[in-house]
């Protein structure tokens, strides 16, 4: 999937002028990337769905605030990222409350057994590029541009993510 920002820009103009339905085209264009970002940050399909939906809805409600020089793709990603951060903080809070009483048992439950759980265990800065790598047809350049990092930085993170994931899975297998 390639981001076509020029097209996005035209659609936004179209949207602002007359057509609500134009936003539907923006959704179809950008939802997948937004979902991948949420999935990468949250490590959970269900949460990613909720937050990606919230982000698209928020984009819809606030599109008037989008500066004409700003690209819709970058803007909606920023919204999604902020929502994810907020969500993580809320989730963390809940976990911490629970951890007060059952710190030990919670510690062990975090280490899990299937691939999804192993991905979830990756630190967010590695999980995000790894997830997007698989959503973006294994193209490190696209990931670099979407995450606004260098190409070598993206490669490094994918490399680290893969190595750490292997360690986690190996640790699991040994159990």
């Amino acid at each position: 999937l390639r981001l076509d920002e020029t097209k996005g820009g035209n659609l936004i103009s179209a949207y602002k002028q007359t057509s609500i339905a134009a936003y539907g085209i923006l959704v179809k264009e950008h939802y997948r990337t937004v979902f991948a970002l949420c999935m990468g940050m949250l490590g959970n399909v269900h949460d990613a769905e909720d937050i990606a939906q919230e982000a698209m809805l928020k984009g819809f409600q606030n599109i008037d605030k989008l500066d004409k020089n700003e690209l819709f793709g970058a803007w909606i990603m920023k919204i999604a990222k902020n929502l994810c951060i907020d969500f993580i903080r809320r989730r963390k809070k809940t976990n911490e409350i629970a951890s007060e009483q059952k710190m030990e048992s919670n510690t062990v439950t975090n280490e899990n057994h299937d691939l999804q759980q192993a991905i979830k265990k990756l630190p967010q800065e590695l999980r995000l590029p790894l997830t997007m790598y698989y959503f973006e047809q294994k193209n490190a350049k696209i990931i670099a541009s979407k995450l606004e990092i260098s190409h070598s930085g993206a490669c490094q993170r994918i490399r680290d993510a893969r190595k750490m994931l292997h360690e986690i899975l190996t640790e699991r297998d040994e159990k």
């Binding site: 959704v27 769905e49 902020n82 698989y134 994918i158 490399r159 292997h166």
Partner: protein, 879 residues
């Protein structure tokens, strides 16, 4: 694997990812052909790559469905297109019709001698200060009509309501549009926009000519309706007809004396298309009515969820009638119900019969009678039930002393509380007032005014349910002893249901099944009055005890009956019932997917909406196995300590099979020595360190300078740590590292500026009274001080502080000038919740606002200091 291999290992990941330069690929491939270890490592990564590809492809396969959900949530799918098809085009007709209202007034009427001249109508219309019109339009004979409301005032003011939108305009320009259902400003409905543009031609005052020209788009200016004398039945009305085209005609009713049109209809003879407009005139509305900013203020008030209050904000009725619940409340306010009769039964229950029992809230909700009571004996009373009768606005409340029926004391005074019932637990109920009573009927049975609920047993059952919380378990046991066994009254459905829940609570599943077999026929005898959820514990007990066939039979039995609540014909609530039952069985009975599918009669694995249940089922099976292993290990450790002394603080016991133990839903304590806990360890040295960071044992947050010296981070510890309760994570880590001859040294690093929070000891408010500085209004959610989260249980100061520190300390490792925030308030989790909300505290503005808020609400002040930062060093123990 040698050091050469280590180098290759670094690039194997890149090779698998397809990002290794071609020049290096060949060299690596050659090495892989020669080296078994690296080849195995590459195969393993390749296998994982395939697994990942397959996992993400599976997730990706649902992307279209997700997109569709987003589109639906944004609410612009096909309906929008449909509505523009049905309403936009007819609106031109509608507007034309409105124009024609004026044209037709030229006609003469057989009942009167006077004619209505166009000039009179124009003049009259110009003199009107305000008019409103309600349009109803349907596409064909069987379609549901759509309603549009329009208000116009002199000076070019327009307000419209179209579906969930309220739209404001001024002199033809759209100023603001709001969506009531989404509680946000909205892109206006294109039809409304067009309508406003058309009305712009009026300029600053009403003009029929402009209206006519505008709304018809110039098409109907030459239409001249004629008086239809056959349609006139009285002198005060003039009726005009006009043929619009071959298939549509229009009729207008106008008042003869005032010369004002009041009703028009356009009719499509071919398909039953119909547009009706009712036009009314009144004195002008208050200025706020046409002011979008004033409307926005009402709109942002989160506590008012009543759509009528919002849709018709500031609209006044010229006849003084109420338009909204808020209008009703403004006139009536709250009142205390009037006691008609009160009594105390011989068992000690107090009942109150009250008139004028209903109170209406500004948001349209209602509450009845009294919410609680106290007496001169300082007893707590439980409201075990009540009822109200709308006919004569009478309520009945029944209160039992908490120790009913064991507390036989009789009060000489009781106090009844009338409180505003809010559904939001975060909001403290507002007291309307209290009534003291000193006289009542003694040993008086509760009046059976509401068809039942007068028996002592029914009250006890109700009271028992209130005691299901753990803190009341003693009271529950004592009360239950006074309640008949279920076999004594096998026809009493309420009694059977209580015993089912009691037995399930005690995990006596065999008993639940026994009662369930008697209960279900009763439930089905009159299903119209029963809830489907009543079978929950029975079904779960069958599932837990492995009676899958019986559970399937029960589920089928319930599934076949429509009228149980929720009704099968109510698709969404019924589907929710099924999903919940499956999820409960997955989690509580730990059933496998095949078993769950068998019970509900379809393959849940193939249904998207059951994915939560499927996930739970998979986890439940894994969890069960883990739990069994943990229970076994606990017993082994207990046996070990039968022959060994317990350690003073902690001890490592190695596991023979090196398999880690997971304490899930079972205590991680040493049996018979509950103050000792077990932590199962299977961890490399490097993960010990990362755990410390994760659990914030090394403060502050992101600023954790760490150094590893002469230590192999890959060493792994496989053992169970037995430690005395109260041992800190840092102590445990140091002890475990010591096993490898490693020590954790904390050194003073470079100094930097910090912000230290201290507490002045002032008493803390009830957390429900503390909220974020700025309420969330759907618009400014990321601004400093705006509420970010709210819960009914509230937040401790530790949580709120942690929130602030996380936001403010962000990036401290890179920015040496940034102040590091330390919590030295001494207020802990145990001090309980201090606020019902948390807030956003970004940047400097957030910090300043937070300082003020923390000081005002909690007496926490911040002082700037310079302190040395700690550096954490992992190295070989020197001794």
């Amino acid at each position: 694997m040698n050091s050469e291999c280590q180098k290759y290992k670094e690039i194997i990941a890149d090779y698998i990812s397809g990002i290794l330069p071609d020049s290096e690929v060949k060299i690596l491939q050659q090495h892989l052909n020669e080296c078994k270890d690296c080849s195995e490592y590459a195969s393993a990564l390749e296998k994982e790559d395939k697994q990942l590809s397959s996992l993400f492809a599976a997730i990706d396969s649902d992307m279209k469905t997700r997109e569709q959900k987003v589109l639906e949530s944004i609410n612009f799918p096909e309906q929008k297109e449909k509505s523009s098809r049905t309403i936009f085009q007819p609106f031109i007709k509608l507007a034309a019709a409105a124009a024609i209202v004026i044209v037709v007034l030229f006609g003469l009427n057989k009942f009167g001698n006077s004619s209505i001249a166009w000039a009179d109508v124009v003049e009259k219309f110009q003199s009107v200060e305000f008019f409103s019109a309600v349009f109803y339009e349907k596409d064909d004979a069987l379609a549901q009509p759509e309603q549009i409301e329009l208000w116009m005032g002199q000076g070019g003011n327009v307000r419209m309501r179209m579906g969930p939108q309220v739209i404001f305009g001024q002199s033809g320009n759209l100023t603001k549009a709001f969506d009531i259902s989404k509680r946000s400003q909205a892109e206006p409905d294109p039809r409304a926009k067009r309508m406003l543009e058309m009305l712009a031609g009026m300029g600053g005052q009403f003009s029929l000519d402009t209206l006519l020209k505008t709304v018809s788009g110039g098409k109907l200016t030459n239409v001249t309706p004629l008086v239809n004398s056959d349609a006139i039945i009285s002198e005060d009305l003039v009726v005009f007809d006009s043929k619009l085209n071959d298939i549509q005609w229009m009729r207008i009713w106008a008042l003869r004396e005032s010369k004002l049109p009041v009703h028009l209809r356009i009719w499509g003879s071919r398909d039953g298309y119909c547009l009706e407009a009712f036009i009314t005139y009144s004195n002008k509305q208050p200025a706020e009515f046409f002011d979008p900013n004033a409307f926005e203020q009402v709109f942002r008030q989160q506590q008012d969820n009543n759509k009528s209050n919002i849709a018709y904000a500031f609209l006044t009725d010229p006849g003084g009638e109420d338009i909204t619940p808020k209008d009703m409340f403004n006139k009536s306010g709250y009142h205390i119900p009037i006691i008609k009769q009160a009594g105390i039964t011989k068992e000690g229950a107090i009942w109150i019969l009250a008139g004028q029992s209903r109170n209406r809230m500004p948001n349209g909700n209602e509450f009845y009678g009294f919410s609680q009571m106290t007496d001169n004996l300082d007893r707590t009373y439980i409201d075990v039930g009540g009822a109200w009768r709308l006919g004569d606005d009478t309520s009945l409340n029944i209160f039992l002393p908490i120790d009913f029926p064991f507390d036989n004391r009789r009060p000489s005074k009781i106090t009844l509380f009338c409180e505003v019932k809010e559904y939001n637990p975060n909001i403290k109920p507002e007291l309307v007032g209290t009534i003291d009573l000193t006289q009542w009927d003694v040993n008086a049975p509760c009046p059976a005014l509401f068809g039942g609920f007068t028996s002592v047993l029914s009250w006890k059952i109700s009271l028992a349910y209130k005691f299901f919380a753990d803190e009341y378990s003693e009271k529950l046991s004592r009360l239950v002893e006074t309640i008949p066994a279920w076999r004594e009254q096998p026809d009493n459905k309420n009694l059977l249901q209580l015993w089912i829940r009691l037995s399930y609570r005690e995990k006596d599943y065999a008993q639940v099944i026994n009662i369930g077999q008697v209960f279900v026929p009763l439930l089905l005898k009159n299903p119209r009055e029963s809830s489907r959820y009543a079978i929950e514990e029975y079904l779960l007990s069958l599932a837990i005890t492995g009676k899958i066939d019986e559970a399937a039979k029960l589920f089928k039995q319930i599934d076949e009956i429509d009228v149980l609540s929720p009704r099968k014909s109510e698709k969404e609530p019924y589907e929710q019932f099924k999903r919940l039952m499956v999820e409960f069985m997955a989690e509580k009975a730990e059933l496998e997917l095949e078993q769950l599918s068998k019970i509900v009669g379809f393959n849940i694995n193939q249904k998207e909406e059951y994915r939560n249940a499927v996930e739970r089922a998979k986890n439940a099976v894994v969890n069960r196995k883990l739990r069994e292993a943990a229970e076994k290990r606990r017993q082994e450790i207990a046996d070990y300590y039968k022959n060994h002394p317990l350690p003073e603080k902690m001890e490592l016991i190695e596991r023979s099979d090196k398999k880690k133990i997971y304490f899930m839903n079972i205590p991680n304590t040493v049996p018979d020595h509950e103050d000792y806990k077990i932590q199962s360890i299977k961890k490399k040295v490097k993960f010990f360190v990362s755990d410390l960071i994760n659990f914030n044992n090394i403060q502050p947050y992101d600023l954790v300078p760490m150094r590893v010296e002469d230590v192999n981070e890959e060493q792994e510890l496989n053992a169970d740590l037995i430690y005395k309760e109260g041992t800190s994570r840092l102590e445990k880590t140091e002890f475990a590292l010591n096993h490898f001859g490693i020590e954790l040294v904390i050194e003073d690093g470079p100094s930097r500026k910090v912000l230290v929070a201290k507490y002045n000891g002032q008493s803390l408010k009830d957390f429900k009274d503390v909220t974020a500085p700025i309420p969330y209004d759907g618009q400014n959610q990321l601004k400093a001080g705006v509420m970010s989260t709210g819960t009914s249980r509230g937040f401790t100061l530790v949580e709120i502080f942690d929130d602030l520190a996380r936001q403010q300390n962000k990036g401290i490792e890179k920015d040496g000038d940034k102040l590091v925030i330390f919590n030295e308030t001494g207020i802990s989790f145990e001090d309980g919740s201090v606020s019902s909300e948390t807030a956003f505290w970004p940047d400097k503005e957030g910090l300043e606002l937070a300082k003020k808020w923390f000081n005002e609400e909690f007496g926490v002040t911040f002082t700037e200091e310079t302190r040395p930062m700690k550096t954490y060093v992992i190295k070989k123990r020197t001794e």
